[in-house]
């Protein structure tokens, strides 16, 4: 197997290089997913490259899918939703298919048993697509928008309304307050939204219920604690995105730029961490975020945001114990110059109200850093690098910190069709199979990302 690996990788790189060099022409003008089709523009009008937004795209999103600075109801022609035709449906529907064709992992398996060091394993498998996402969104009328994202996770075999919300925009006066109600990603308007990064989430390896290898995800947004449970007893994986950076929580939030483009505020209230419909404990979680923007420079924009998320009896440390409160604080920032997009986040998580008996064995503070840079080397080639560091919290006996580096080259056949190769590696010494957080050595991935 070990001799086999360089061969496989070598030939894949060659195939990729050939594919890349045989398409020297620029991406064609393509009207792609819903908004692009509706407005007859390329996705790059709003995105640096999907799913990242450029400064214009951010303002379009904030304004409830209306042109920034206006309350135009997203109108592009004479037709309105009242006489919706099949033709118009394509203005509201889009889908995305993505995943890795090939995954090669080098890590030490944990599955021989929870405390038996596993054997280093080099595993290669195929599989594409891993995620199918169908989304629809837009404006119903002036200042009323909606968004629904139905995600099918193929390996897990489940379909979920990942997000679905209504928005009421420009309440009071222009850009004073935009309201979202439903199931949404709280960090959407911050300087580094969870769902807008070029390096996609990579699933963990789970073998007969044992976590063999952690997922590859951004550490700043992770749960960070070893030994936390949801209130119903489900363990919370330390690498799962959570709280302010959860992909989907149910609640209401408001954001706006009442004083001009330089300042954005956001406040929100949620049922609680991982509480979907209904709220098993009455106390709510809430958060505030402020963001400062500079977008009035030549070919340059920058912004910084700071947030605080206050959890209220939203988790457990041990099943029979009373609830703890799990909160999150952090800063994130983005700098864009010409075709460089640099962004990062530093996030601290804290657990309070810990039962006295557990206090000595449990670290109540954890933190994570994620920094990513994307550069358009040519019109078709996007190079990305990401650094992740986790300073884990939770039970001292279990917790493991880690640091990872990921590199990716993404090649766009068209602005909506991309192939990528990616390599993630552990910056620390890999350990045996005892902890899935540190048994990881290297991952090599080849995949595709299509959006229509």
């Amino acid at each position: 197997m070990d001799q086999f690996r360089p061969l496989v990788l070598g030939s894949l790189v060659t195939v990729f290089a050939i594919a890349v060099s045989s398409f020297p022409s620029p991406p064609e003008a393509q009207a792609i997913p819903a908004y692009a089709r509706k407005y007859k523009v390329n996705c790059t009008v709003c995105h640096t490259r999907p799913p990242r937004l450029n400064t214009f795209g951010e303002r379009f999103l904030e304004n409830g899918y209306q042109m920034p600075g206006t309350e135009d109801g997203g109108i592009v022609g004479k037709k309105q939703l009242g006489d919706l035709t099949l033709d118009d449906v394509t203005n509201y529907l889009a889908f995305r298919l993505r995943g890795n064709f090939l995954r090669n992992f080098n890590f030490a398996r944990k599955s021989p048993g929870p405390d038996v060091p596993g054997n280093p394993e080099d595993r290669t498998d195929f599989g594409w697509p891993e995620t199918f996402q169908l989304f629809t969104g837009g404006t119903l009328t002036t200042n009323v928008g909606f968004f629904v994202d139905v995600t099918h996770d193929l390996p897990a075999g489940n379909t979920d309304i990942a997000r679905g919300y209504f928005s009421l925009n420009n309440l009071g006066f222009h850009n004073l307050a935009h309201l979202r109600i439903g199931k949404f990603d709280p960090s959407a308007y911050s300087s580094f939204p969870l769902l807008r990064q070029q390096l996609d989430f990579v699933r963990p390896d789970v073998n007969s219920g044992v976590l063999d290898r952690i997922p590859l995800a951004s550490n700043a947004f992770a749960a960070k604690f070893f030994g936390l449970f949801e209130r119903d007893g489900t363990p919370i994986a330390p690498f799962r995105a959570s709280l302010f950076h959860s992909p989907n929580e149910v609640g209401i939030d408001v954001h706006g730029r009442p004083f001009g483009d330089w300042f954005l505020y956001q406040v929100g209230i949620l049922n609680g961490a991982n509480e979907t419909f209904g709220d098993s404990n009455n106390p709510k979680d809430w958060y505030v975020m402020v963001r400062l923007d500079q977008a009035e420079s030549d070919l340059f924009s920058a912004n910084i945001s700071g947030f605080a998320y206050f959890g209220n009896n939203n988790a457990k440390v041990a099943l029979n114990n009373s609830d703890v409160s799990w909160s999150q604080y952090g800063v994130s920032a983005t700098v864009r110059y010409k075709m460089v997009d640099l962004y990062g986040a530093y996030v601290i998580d804290r657990v309070t109200d810990l039962p006295q008996a557990l206090a000595s064995g449990f670290d109540t503070t954890a933190s994570g850093v994620t920094v990513e840079a994307d550069v358009l080397a040519t019109d078709r080639l996007l190079l990305s690098i990401r650094y992740d560091h986790l300073d884990a919290g939770g039970f001292l006996a279990q917790r493991k910190s880690n640091s990872l580096l990921a590199l990716q080259a993404k090649y766009y056949l068209r602005t909506n069709i991309a192939l990528f190769i990616r390599d993630d590696f552990n910056l620390r010494k890999a350990e045996g199979g005892v902890s899935p957080a540190r048994n990881f050595r290297n991952a090599f991935l080849v995949g595709a990302d299509l959006i229509f």
Binding site: P26, K40, V41, N42, M67, P68, G69, T70, D261, T378
Partner: protein
């Protein structure tokens, strides 16, 4: 003779005054209108066209990173999409039309804005022209599209096809007018910023990709005015004595999209 000359001058001066008066109403709107235009511009246009209108907003380079078109530079005061003859100034309506319709592929349409707001932005955009370019502003010379006497017939389309090849439109737009030209790389077409530009962007068989309008008179206008700053030349001189040929050509281009126009 002398008297007549003076008389003519007087007429011209008065006429000129009248015309420039009308012009003044268009080009020098009230400070309030410009202020309102600036607010709208700063909220919407700045991200691509930049604070001073130089086409260097923070999102400008992502639109077409290493290829044309970059967001337009308004300080030059010269516009690509015009209804006026090549080398002449634009009309306010030209700006209004682009703001309303956008540019397929690259700039979203602002048709959802109240008309008044679009006019306010036009007024503001004009204040961004550098003083230098304002000095050089040539008199308006709206292109006379005239009456179209050539009926749309199969023969006209066939004649248009011949004109297409006679004028070597295929050199840039391809044999099938879809822009795939075999030795395209060798041609090395660039716009005035030195950015590579492809007529592929423009599939003549797809009317949705037409930036300067896809109606018969729009295409006629494009042929006559050319697109300043790009390799697309003006054919006004070539068609000067053969306007019919231009209409045949327009019919041919329209026929390529088989009536699937907007």
């Amino acid at each position: 003779m002398l008297l007549r000359f003076h008389f003519l001058t007087v007429i011209l001066v008065i006429g000129g005054l009248l015309v420039s008066n009308v012009h003044a109403i268009q080009t020098e709107p009230t400070p309030e209108i410009i202020a309102r235009g600036k607010i709208l511009y700063d909220r919407s246009c700045i991200f691509c066209h930049g604070v001073q209108g130089k086409g260097d907003g923070p999102a400008a380079f992502f639109g077409a990173s290493y290829w044309a078109p970059r967001a337009s530079d308004f300080t030059v005061g010269q516009y690509k999409f015009r209804s006026t003859a090549s080398g002449k100034s634009h009309t306010d309506e030209d700006l209004f039309r682009i703001i309303t319709n956008g540019v397929p592929g690259y700039m979203p349409p602002f048709v959802g804005w109240p008309e008044e707001d679009r006019w306010h932005v036009v007024s503001y955009v004009k204040t961004l022209h550098s003083t230098n370019s304002r000095h050089n502003e040539k008199p308006l010379e709206t292109f006379q599209i005239g009456t179209q006497n050539v009926p749309l017939t199969v023969e006209s389309i066939e004649q248009g096809r011949q004109v297409y090849f006679k004028f070597e439109c295929d050199a840039c737009h391809g044999h099938n007018a879809r822009g795939d030209v075999p030795d395209f790389e060798a041609q090395d077409l660039k716009d005035n910023l030195g950015m590579p530009i492809r007529p592929t962007d423009l599939d003549l068989t797809n009317p949705y990709s037409f930036k300067n309008g896809a109606a018969a008179h729009d295409i006629f206008g494009t042929l006559m005015t050319g697109l300043i700053g790009t390799p697309m030349p003006s054919y006004a001189d070539a068609f000067a004595q053969h306007e019919d040929d231009a209409w045949h050509l327009v019919h041919y281009i329209l026929s390529l999209s088989q009536g699937s126009g907007p």
